[in-house]
């Protein structure tokens, strides 16, 4: 019980600090559930980044260093709440900023049936995902060797070892040290706070992030569809039921988290284009950093695509503010990138630098996307919706931007797996390609939602 309460306190403090950061960048439109959900993720990113900075500065993972974060962070948040008021904080509007019953009345009987079925399926997956988190042992190899072992090493060793000759400690956290630190330092810090390494509590972050994805999709789809509960549920359900996502919601891989940060970065960048509000760009930048600080794919596929798209449209629209998210992500990632350069940490530690087209690339992509069981029928839906809806929607600025960004991600995925040594190490043997496609799928579903709701999008 004490363990659970300590864990709960950690989550409350982290969310509180995240909401404080949102207040600092004046994002608080309402003190609503959206702010709480993304506040939780922002708090987690801030906490992980702080622990990372402490460790690379030679400091230790200690009660003092972790305590300082919460004392200063909570103090700052309380000050901001005191200064700007806590209107509606924890009020009814906080949890549901709209009335679902209004939309429900307008829905047909068939659609009501489908909505109920989708709701049941989502709850079913969440319930069993939670069961696996607290009952299943660490099983998938990468979850152990790439992710959790580094967090557990740091939790026990308290310091980051910068000397590869030192065999008593793990070099840069040990094992696959080429990977970024978001999940590693977050879980090490959480374990220190709760006083032990607990498999379930260490991994529940993945599950909570999955719930946040569902919440944000629901809220955004509701906004885009102007309260159409059926359309809202359709796209929320599509994002929540990507087949591989269920397995990633209870295990310690970074792919789903990277994909969620990616779609959040895109959502708030699109919100900026629609509403022209600076704070959305800062938020987009924080989530873009989250994606790059979680997995190397975040840097290679996501950061490069969003940055290139932002540069193209900044020139076309003469709107230089579009470069803000990439600038924020670049600045925050600088310490890790300097470390990467200093220790010559490769982006893909198992692949060599050879470049050249590998035959069978198209055939393998075709099989894994249209025949196997990890994509549902997404890769049939994407071209159909593009053909049917894109021509009506392409004049919208946000559609143009998202289309180019996602097209570039797609091209980079094809290039990475078809033209580099990843073909052998991650593609032909199916080690990474489907996880990367899952990472991509959340943003694609968001784009499909935008396309089918084009007429409703308010400027």
């Amino acid at each position: 019980m004490i363990l659970f309460l300590t864990f709960l306190l950690f989550q409350i403090l982290v969310t509180n600090i995240g909401v404080g950061i949102l207040r600092a960048i004046s994002f608080i439109k309402r003190d609503d559930i959206e702010s709480l959900a993304i506040g939780y993720l922002i708090g987690a990113v801030a906490f992980s980044f702080y622990i990372f900075l402490i460790l690379i500065a030679g400091g230790s993972l200690s009660s003092l260093s972790v305590g300082m974060f919460f004392i200063v962070g909570t103090g700052g948040t309380v000050y901001l709440i005191g200064k700007r008021g806590a209107k509606n904080y924890l009020s009814q509007e906080c949890f549901l900023p709209f009335k679902i019953s209004d939309g429900w009345k307008k829905t047909s009987t068939i659609q009501k049936g489908l909505i109920s079925l989708m709701g049941v399926f989502i709850c079913f997956k969440l319930f069993l995902g939670l069961w696996f988190i607290f009952n299943a042992p660490a099983y998938f190899d990468d979850a152990i060797t790439h992710w959790n072992i580094r967090a557990k090493n740091i939790y026990f060793e308290k310091f980051l070892n910068f000397n590869p000759e030192n065999k008593e400690m793990s070099f840069l956290g040990g094992s696959i040290f080429h990977y970024p630190f978001f999940l590693v330092t977050y879980k090490a810090g959480l374990s220190l706070f709760i006083g032990q390494w607990h498999e379930g509590y260490a991994n529940i972050f993945h599950f909570i992030t999955f719930i946040i994805l569902i919440m944000i999709f629901f809220l955004k789809s509701y906004e885009y569809s102007e309260g159409n509960i059926f359309i809202t549920t359709v796209f929320t359900f599509m994002a929540a039921s990507a087949p591989l996502a269920f397995f990633h919601s209870f295990t310690a891989h970074g792919d789903m988290i990277t994909g969620i940060f990616f779609v959040l970065s895109l959502i708030y960048l699109v919100d900026y284009i629609r509403k022209n509000e600076m704070k959305e760009l800062i938020l987009s930048g924080i989530f873009l950093f989250g994606a790059t600080f979680t997995k190397n794919e975040g840097l290679v596929l996501i950061f490069s695509s969003i940055s290139l798209t932002a540069i193209i449209f900044a020139f076309l629209w003469k709107d230089w503010r579009l470069l803000i998210p990439s600038t924020i992500a670049f600045a925050l990632l600088l310490p890790h990138n300097l470390m990467r350069l200093f220790y010559n940490l490769r982006l893909n530690p198992i692949a060599d630098d050879s470049i050249g087209y590998h035959k069978h690339t198209v055939k393998i992509f075709s099989i894994v996307m249209t025949e196997w069981g990890h994509s549902n029928i997404l890769w049939y839906i994407v071209p159909a919706i593009l053909i049917l809806f894109l021509r009506y929607a392409i004049q919208k600025k946000e559609i143009k931007f998202t289309f180019v960004a996602l097209f570039l991600v797609g091209v980079l995925i094809f290039f990475t797996f078809g033209f580099t040594a990843s073909f052998t190490d991650n593609f032909k043997n199916q080690m990474a390609v489907n996880r990367t496609l899952m990472m991509y799928s959340f943003s694609l579903v968001y784009f499909l939602m935008m396309l089918t709701n084009t007429k409703r999008i308010k400027k």
């Binding site: 069961w131 397995f247 549902n376």
Partner: protein, 203 residues
């Protein structure tokens, strides 16, 4: 008629065989086939056919029809997937009571046993002999803060997992490939094949 019915029944049974969790499940799901055709392909082409019908549908209700049709195909696929997820849950629940988790047999309770026998402080060094993948990685992870080392001379403890050996003399552990440990004191056996030894340092 009976032959057709039994063939259909066999095909359906094969289709309903659950895809259980395996070490690669986190990377891919093979999915299922009906009459040799991938289920996602059947639903995918069904959806494409639905799109063609959509094009002749009255314009006013087009979007609603399109989304209802699209999500119906998606739901059918998800229903089949949920059946697999449920079967995975039932399998895991039943097996975990016996200390088994899908492809890993009795290794997790053996690790709990080792953790009970070895005090958490000071940090000990462990030498592992047994099947390498994925057991050594799991052992390394679960026994932290104790470290797994690659040389018996550095080790404080020896873990032997399903590896044939015999004891020569008093404390010499030997396998077909040669001597594993010159001076090892047997601490206990969790189950046949799951042995833990204390390594006595030879000065």
């Amino acid at each position: 008629m009976d032959a057709i019915f039994s063939q259909l029944s066999a095909e359906f049974r094969k289709f309903m065989e659950p895809e259980l969790i395996r070490p690669w499940t986190i990377n891919l799901l093979y999915g299922h086939k009906l009459f040799g055709i991938a289920f996602s392909q059947i639903l995918g082409w069904g959806f494409i056919l639905g799109v063609l019908i959509y094009l002749i549908f009255p314009r006013q209700r087009r979007l609603q029809f399109f989304l209802t049709m699209m999500i119906s195909f998606w739901l059918i696929f998800d229903l089949r997937l949920n059946y697999d997820i449920y079967k995975n849950y039932l399998t895991a629940k039943a097996e975990l009571q016996k200390g088994i988790y899908f492809t890993i047999e009795d290794f997790y309770p053996f690790l709990d046993y080792i953790n009970e026998k070895i005090a958490i402080a000071p940090v000990n060094k462990i030498y592992y002999v047994g099947q390498h993948w994925p057991y050594e990685n799991i052992l390394q992870y679960y026994l932290l803060p104790h470290k797994v080392v690659g040389n018996i001379r550095e080790a404080d403890y020896l873990v032997l997992y399903r590896f044939p050996f015999h004891i020569e003399g008093d404390r010499k552990i030997v396998s077909e490939k040669g001597v594993i440990c010159e001076q090892c004191e047997w601490i206990g056996m969790f189950r046949p094949g799951c042995n833990l030894f204390k390594v006595n340092k030879i000065s």
